[in-house]
Symmetry: C2
Subunit: 461 residues, 2 copies
Amino acid sequence: MYYNKFLILFFSLFFSLFNLKAQDKNDAETIKNIFDEILTNDACYENLRYLTTQIGGRLSGSPQAAAAVDWTKEVMENYGFDTVFLQEVMVPHWVRGKKEIGRIVGSEKMGSFDVAVCALGNSVGTGDEGVIANLVEVQDFEELKKLGKENIQGKVVFFNRPMDPTLIQTFQAYGGAVNQRGAGASEAAKYGAIGAIVRSMTTSSDDFPHTGSLNYALNVPQIPAIAISTKDADLLSKLLKDDTSLKFYFETHCEMKEEKLSHNVVGQITGSEFPEEYIAIGGHLDSWDMAQGAHDDGTGCMQSIEVLRAFKALGIKPKRSIRAVMFMNEENGLRGGLKYAELAKKNKEKHIAALESDSGGFTPKGFSIGGSDKVVKKVSAWSGLFKPYKIYEFEAGGGGADIGPLKAQDVPLFAFRPDSQRYFDYHHAANDTFDKVNKRELDLGAAAMTSLIYLIDKYGL
Amino acid sequence: MYYNKFLILFFSLFFSLFNLKAQDKNDAETIKNIFDEILTNDACYENLRYLTTQIGGRLSGSPQAAAAVDWTKEVMENYGFDTVFLQEVMVPHWVRGKKEIGRIVGSEKMGSFDVAVCALGNSVGTGDEGVIANLVEVQDFEELKKLGKENIQGKVVFFNRPMDPTLIQTFQAYGGAVNQRGAGASEAAKYGAIGAIVRSMTTSSDDFPHTGSLNYALNVPQIPAIAISTKDADLLSKLLKDDTSLKFYFETHCEMKEEKLSHNVVGQITGSEFPEEYIAIGGHLDSWDMAQGAHDDGTGCMQSIEVLRAFKALGIKPKRSIRAVMFMNEENGLRGGLKYAELAKKNKEKHIAALESDSGGFTPKGFSIGGSDKVVKKVSAWSGLFKPYKIYEFEAGGGGADIGPLKAQDVPLFAFRPDSQRYFDYHHAANDTFDKVNKRELDLGAAAMTSLIYLIDKYGL
């Protein structure tokens, strides 16, 4: 990239204020101030660096999760928010134990060798004896049904349906594949399978096993389940085509322990006009144990804190009470989200909106809006204020897992929607680390969130 | 990120065909086919892997540049394009030589120590004796003027104006800072400076020196110039504040050698109706020597080839002749771009459009359109066809450096515009490597480019 062209090329893209109404002018100026404040400040990025590199992976019930609770409380107190408090919540305590082993055994062409696997979250372990069996490869649950017990009994089922690469929104592709991980083990167990292997939920071809929760169905034997990297899934599938007699051995040492006490962390700037009305902004503080929980969901947590920090730094005094909520246990139980909604109801905290950031710290594309037509219309009308920041998408849609339980209280729910192309490269895998986050992308997301909350607070919904 | 929410959250975002005219329906289908073909194929990504990891950095006149010419010709021949040919072009041959040394000498607080620097492209070298002198830090050329000869003579000028982080389009921030690199050395030499140090042109705070061309002014002494990493620039500036007596030593072994013969590489699918009308799509094949030239501009080259590959794979027979052009020497001379335009004129090749991809292989945001109001209006009217792919920006603007010389022949010029947030993290630095490219982002860009070319070819301009 040579430089002279820039002198020629770039017509001013600066936001023209002239086409806006007077009121919008003030909003445009405030939003510009918000973006400037966040883009020129290191707070969000440096907070994320600490959370991810100094605390690291923080699965519910782990010492790191406790450390993250303690540290985020301190961060918000140090920022001088009006109130910072914890909400007690009991969480599942699943531990991975010793590193897993996955092995293709006695393949015709390549003999026996190890492949990249990890236990799925909430899975039972195999213990030291492991599991060894022939494999049945399937694409979906229909195929299981067709094969029936006679073909599945005593075997390990290999779920190998990839995420659809032609879907532009990768979360759609995830939605189309993830039932294999969530319900595959129990579906296979219904037909007598003794284990399940699931192709990693990622759009990339890589060597990382991507973990994530499974849910065991009631009254079905709980069989151990693992994820296998996409590269090894492709290899295994290829070998199986020629040689259905090969076996697969795996060994996992995970177990579900007794529930533990943990916490949501809530920081609040109290409203100047309607302190009894709340707007919650959140991400989940827990993360999978194999990585640093950067994009999932350190970024969402740090962005939520950044919204309140930016309000304070710019002297914006909200009319309503604005909360940054660090939800605990999104990954394997959702207890924090459920507890938050329970307490909101019990304490009669009227929430006028909730916003979740749990799709990674990438360049913002927009927001999805889960509310009445009136709410969708009202919020969409603000979209012009976001165009200078190349944010175009304001669409009806859902909010997110953690704020989902507030729906029963008729709270309009919003999801922050960043660019989704890289998200599943890192999702639930060992490479979800701080260095995968770009400071500008993270900041632009935080600024977009702050701007939306500023408008919701100012105009109501 | 838990999975159940996806079952709830995602309303169908699929492209609704129902609101389109019959003709647009066909176009929408073709464009869907283009995206599907490219997203499900490894060609573009694997070609980029080869270019970047097997050939590597390929500065004009280097053996790697010659290898890249040879290899891209072969790739396009193997794809069975109708014609593949070379255009001879003489290029500058600048070589970096031995690794550079940069050293802060005798600072009050930290003594003497090395910092991360590299020679700027086209710079003269210091030779073994190096340069050692006191420093003058400035933000711009105005400041040089104010300081005058009496303060600058015999010193090294340190240009330290950062890229503006509040500009959303990072290329604008680059445009606002890069005159320090391009013209700083000569501007400083006018006042008797004996060397120039330029803050790296990047939006990130990192330890990489980012190189790039300078241009010496006529009749001004040619003084050696280097880039310093942003982190070390900040440190140096801080030390200078307390201690203006510190010295800086640097040693560079670069030199401009005799011009060498090199080539543009052109692959063509010949038009079925108007073979004498051309549409050129290109990137530049040369790249800086310190890295692999991935985002700058391996991605643009491989995307350009991918446009033609996708046409063939889908059996789309263009009316006009479509060319993928690998331009040589964009980085430090633009000889390839100039030669291509010269030959087009000489051979009376009427170009109806040219499209350049030289802003990285990131998620597409849209295109800028350099042409008459009529052209801008016509092309903008197609924007609805790109919305399903989350591509929204069709704006008047420039084309690019390599296709720029075609402007004199009244050719409408287009620039592919991807998301710009990460571009300058890697730009002209040692980390511009293959692993920084996401396959999906690269493919989406190639598919967007193919779709635009399909429409231009079909409807003309």
